[in-house]
């Protein structure tokens, strides 16, 4: 038996012990009732007396030393263990990272949820459109002042008479043709304008188009649906007003304002001192547009509306520059 190498092995193992669990394992392995050291004692029992004496003494001292060291270590580890169970409630919290949805995604979903509860289906439109759907189908023929307001340096044109839709309204006739009537849909999507960008103008932004077609739809229904939407989105305290407007594809047309949330309707720079903020355009679908959607305008009528998601998101989060939505800056995006 090589006592020296055994001692070395044991001492090395002892040095590597890092916690209470390992220490307990070590103790039972070497110092326990069935431990290695017992086996050594059993072996030297049968040795000649002289050897037994010297070796016995050496081993006894070694074991005593081991016991002392393990007892010491035991105290240290136990202390550490109680220490690690202690909690200091005064320390500052850790910062938790999560993923983020874009504010326009969040606001779009919120809008969709409200309309879905009123029976509107969410469908997608097309970003590349032809001139007929973007303009002509909506009573905006070539040379019409409204077409020019949109097209004169405002529409982005592509080859073969195609363009990037300047509003979500072309989806109106597309879905009338595709789904027929009755119909209750909202079409959220990206629209494009030739713009010099500034705090409130972008070359691409988001609109939601709404369309209801049925046998007996009235302006009172339009008022009901949009009034309910605005109330749900902005809260009950918001005041709503309908005033005359003009869109070539609706007749009558309404502009819908809500009381300014910054000044509560008293008048401030945000609402140009009027106390009101324009929030969406709407109206009863022009009979010609119903016909362009291949439906009989004698039988079917409807209402339509369009609103800018960007604008609602800017109001909701008090964002002062529309360009934040499209520059990919995580300092901004991680706030949502």
């Amino acid at each position: 038996m090589d006592i020296d190498s055994l001692k070395k092995t044991i001492e090395k193992e002892l040095e590597e012990i890092k916690n209470l669990k390992e220490l307990k394992e070590f103790s039972s392995k070497y110092l326990g009732k069935k431990g290695e050291m017992r086996k050594v004692f059993a072996e030297i029992k049968n040795m000649p007396i002289e050897k037994k004496k010297t070796l016995g003494k050496e081993i006894n001292e070694f074991v005593a030393g081991l016991e002392k060291k393990t007892a010491q270590l035991y105290r240290v580890f136990q202390e550490n263990e109680t220490e690690s169970k202690k909690i200091n409630l005064d320390l500052l919290e850790e910062k938790i990272e999560s993923g983020h949805l874009h504010p326009l995604t969040i606001v779009r979903k919120e809008i969709e949820d409200i309309f879905q509860l009123m029976g509107f289906t969410v469908v997608e439109g097309w970003e590349v459109e032809d001139q007929w759907h973007n303009f002509d189908s909506l009573n905006i023929p070539k040379g019409h002042p409204a077409r020019d307001a949109l097209s004169l340096g405002k529409t982005l044109y592509l080859r073969n008479n195609l363009l990037l839709r300047s509003h979500t309204s072309p989806a109106q006739t597309r879905y009338m043709k595709k789904l027929g009537a009755p119909l209750r849909i909202i079409i959220p999507g990206r629209v494009f304008r030739y713009e010099r960008t500034d705090a409130s103008h972008e070359t691409n932004f988001y609109q939601i188009e709404g369309l209801m077609v049925d046998e007996n739809v009235s302006a009172a229904n339009l008022k009901g649906v949009l009034g309910k939407f605005l109330e749900e989105f902005f809260g009950k305290e918001v005041k709503i007003r309908f005033r005359p407007s003009y869109f070539p594809f609706t007749e009558p047309s309404f502009e819908i304002d809500i009381s300014c949330s910054v000044c509560n309707g008293v008048g401030c720079p945000a609402c140009k001192k009027t106390g009101w903020v324009e929030i969406l355009g709407s109206g009863m679908v022009h009979p010609q547009v119903i016909e362009n959607g291949k439906l009989d305008s004698k039988k079917w009528n409807g209402f339509a509306f369009g609103l800018s998601i960007d604008r609602l998101a800017m109001m909701k989060y008090k964002i002062d520059d529309i360009r934040w939505f499209y520059n990919g800056n995580l300092k901004f995006l991680k706030q949502f």
């Binding site: 990272e97 949805l101 080859r159 009755p182 990206r190 005359p244 499209y326």
Partner: protein, 654 residues
């Protein structure tokens, strides 16, 4: 449109409501008032006249008619009296119309005028309404335009060659110097007013230098005309020259207005410049515009507005608007629309008039009844939002980029994007064919502020499709590298698998295309890719393709109470054999008893041999029915290794 409160008041004997009150009434029933400016002796309203009403309401008279209808007042317009001289106008001038886009041309000649400043009060009012006073002739024309909406133009008679006015199309490359001093080169789409030699004015837009009114002017020709609106609008835009006149002409002015306006201006010039008006008018008006007739059913009014307005109230409103009721029956009205309301064409136009005058605030709010429509989102919209949610769970932040890219991205990624014909800048010349270029740019930018960037975007990309331009929705994500690129890759690929699983897609496969590109395959269809770049790792999924495989069906998997057993396997294969293939073979051979497979080491080096790799993995065996004994496990393991060596050239290492 700037509206002078005092000029507006001059149309009424009775006082109007205070400016603020009047502005509010107009906002709610006619046009939004944007602001009220207090002037020395006046208030100016800034009305946002709606585009379909430019024909009658770009004038104080038009707004006065609105006030009359809203407040039930009578308009009193000053009577127009002109003292005509003895000499007949035909002795002065001849007019010839050669362009049918000139619908009416009315002129008077006024002799012996004394050109000078107009009365101070008139100058003030012109300034308050946003115009510059020039002289008593031009000011009279402009003032009448403010009053009645009819643009007028005065020429210096002595400068008209041949004493003849010709309305014609411009000759190709014909030149004209306008009153603003700029020279314009015209084409044959442009309608001009000319004498026998030169262009005197661009019709409906602006006068020229040649026959400009000066202090020396003695005799003037005063023009009051009507032009086809689209022609004027298009010319104004083509020349990028928009004037007070063109803004009115492009909005369906009433051709019947020219004569009244001409007489009104002649009267004012007579008063301010002491001129003598020649006898008679030259008035060329080939097709006189007559009032339109519209039939209006009471039932349609109720149907559209959703409110029952008493019949006598409807008739009262129509009368106040100047719309004549020709015939009334129990069910309908036959109406005659005055020619100044060119915007009223169909019954719905008239219903809008009734509604707004009656008051939209009186229309009740009525939610339509819920019917048997599908109210769910389309599957596409639903799963796209699901995917967004899954990526958010994985700590990705969502970005929205522009739909445009520039030459930099085009060249870097060797793209063939569709071009925009009129791009806003050189950085946005093309439609994006992929989301990755701009995501990579986002990562580069954000690494200035963040140690790690993890972003995604869902949006349309565009591609050529023969005659058409195709579009599809892509879902793409990117992460910046950290210390260990291999670990980054494993994590990233795991995230892509997680995302696909969240969409109900369990059978995706990854096929190596090149050293930095993996294709993502579902059911043999390529649905996306994982790409390695200098900045980090990217995935891009074709959502239009992917949506076919997405589903939200889920079935509970039985949880086994029997213990599992782990075995380690290690072996050498050709480096071209992918772990995907090894995994597939093992799972096929495992008779459903393999719970999990974990590759824990892949090693290549000189010890192994060129073109080979050492692969080590754990197989975790578990049965749902029983506790597996070691003989069974050994048997399956042997079969697996047999298949691997037969089919993939696997050499086991022990």
């Amino acid at each position: 449109m700037k509206i002078s409160y005092s000029l507006l008041s001059s149309f009424f004997k009775k006082p109007l409501p205070q400016p603020e009150k009047l502005a509010e009434i107009l906002t709610m029933h006619s046009f939004e008032n944007e602001s009220i400016e207090k002037k020395k002796n006046d208030w100016i309203l800034n009305l946002d006249v709606l585009p379909d009403r430019g024909g009658d309401c770009f004038s104080h008279l038009g707004i006065a008619k609105e006030c009359a209808a809203l407040l039930n007042l009578k308009i009193s317009f000053p009577s127009i009296k002109i003292k005509e001289g003895k000499e007949k106008i035909n002795n002065f001038l001849k007019v010839e119309i050669k362009d049918k886009n000139c619908q009416r041309y009315s002129v008077r000649v006024i002799a012996n005028v004394i050109v000078g400043p107009s009365p101070k009060s008139i100058q003030d009012r012109l300034i308050d309404c946003g115009m510059n006073p020039i002289n008593n002739i031009v000011d009279a024309a402009n003032y009448v335009m403010l009053e009645l909406g009819q643009p007028l133009h005065a020429f210096d008679y002595d400068k008209i060659q041949g004493k003849k006015i010709i309305v014609r199309k411009a000759k190709p490359n014909e030149n004209v110097v306008l009153l603003n001093g700029n020279e314009y080169v015209l084409d044959k789409k442009t309608m001009v007013i000319a004498d026998e030699k030169d262009v005197l004015a661009i019709a409906g837009i602006k006068g020229g230098k040649k026959a400009e009114i000066s202090e020396k002017t003695k005799t003037i020709v005063l023009e009051s005309a009507s032009f086809e609106p689209k022609t004027i609008g298009q010319t104004a835009r083509r020349l990028n020259l928009r004037t007070d006149a063109s803004a009115r002409f492009e909005h369906n002015l009433d051709p019947n207005l020219t004569e009244i306006a001409l007489n009104r201006a002649s009267q004012l010039i007579g008063e301010w410049a002491k001129g003598e008006t020649a006898k008679g008018i030259i008035d060329i008006y080939p097709e006189k515009i007559k009032p339109k007739k519209i039939k209006l059913d009471f039932e349609l009014i109720n149907k559209v507005l959703g409110i029952i307005i008493p019949q006598n109230e409807i008739i009262n409103i129509l009368n106040r608007l100047g719309i004549k009721v020709l015939i009334k029956t129990k069910y309908s009205l036959s109406l005659e629309i005055p020619t100044f309301r060119q915007d009223l064409v169909i019954a719905e136009n008239v219903i809008e008039e009734i509604g707004r005058i009656y008051g939209y605030e009186k229309i009740p709010s009525l939610l339509p009844p819920i019917k048997d429509y599908p109210v769910k989102k389309s599957k596409f919209a639903l799963f796209l939002d699901k995917a967004r949610g899954a990526l958010k769970e994985l700590n990705f932040a969502e970005v929205y980029n522009y739909s445009f890219i520039g030459d930099k991205e085009k060249n870097k990624y060797q793209l063939k994007p569709e071009e925009i014909l009129n791009p806003t800048s050189s950085l946005s010349k093309y439609l994006r064919p992929s989301l990755i270029p701009l995501l990579e740019k986002n990562i580069e930018e954000n690494l200035k502020w963040f140690e790690k960037v993890k972003i995604f975007e869902a949006g349309k990309v565009f591609f050529s499709q023969g005659e058409k331009i195709g579009e599809k929705t892509m879902l793409a994500g990117g992460v910046s590298f950290e210390k260990n690129r291999q670990k980054d890759f494993l994590r990233f690929k795991g995230e892509v698998v997680f995302l696909l699983n969240q969409l109900g897609i369990k059978n995706s496969a990854f096929v190596k295309y090149s050293g930095n590109l993996l294709e993502i395959i579902v059911d043999k269809e390529k649905v996306g890719k994982i790409m390695v770049s200098d900045q980090g790792l990217f995935f891009e999924l074709d959502f239009d393709a992917l949506i076919k495989y997405a589903n939200d069906q889920k079935e509970y998997e039985k949880i086994s109470y029997h213990p599992s057993a782990i075995r380690d396997v290690s072996g050498i294969v050709d480096e071209k054999v992918s772990l995907e293939e090894i995994k597939e073979k093992i799972e096929q051979e495992g008779s459903g008893l393999i719970k999990n497979l974990e590759f824990f080491d892949v090693y290549q080096g000189s010890k192994i041999g060129k073109g080979k790799k050492n692969v080590s993995f754990h197989i975790i065996f578990q049965s749902e029915e029983k506790t597996l004994d070691s003989n069974e496990i050994e048997k399956i393991q042997k079969e697996i290794i047999k298949i691997l060596s037969e089919q993939l050239g696997w050499e086991e290492r022990k």
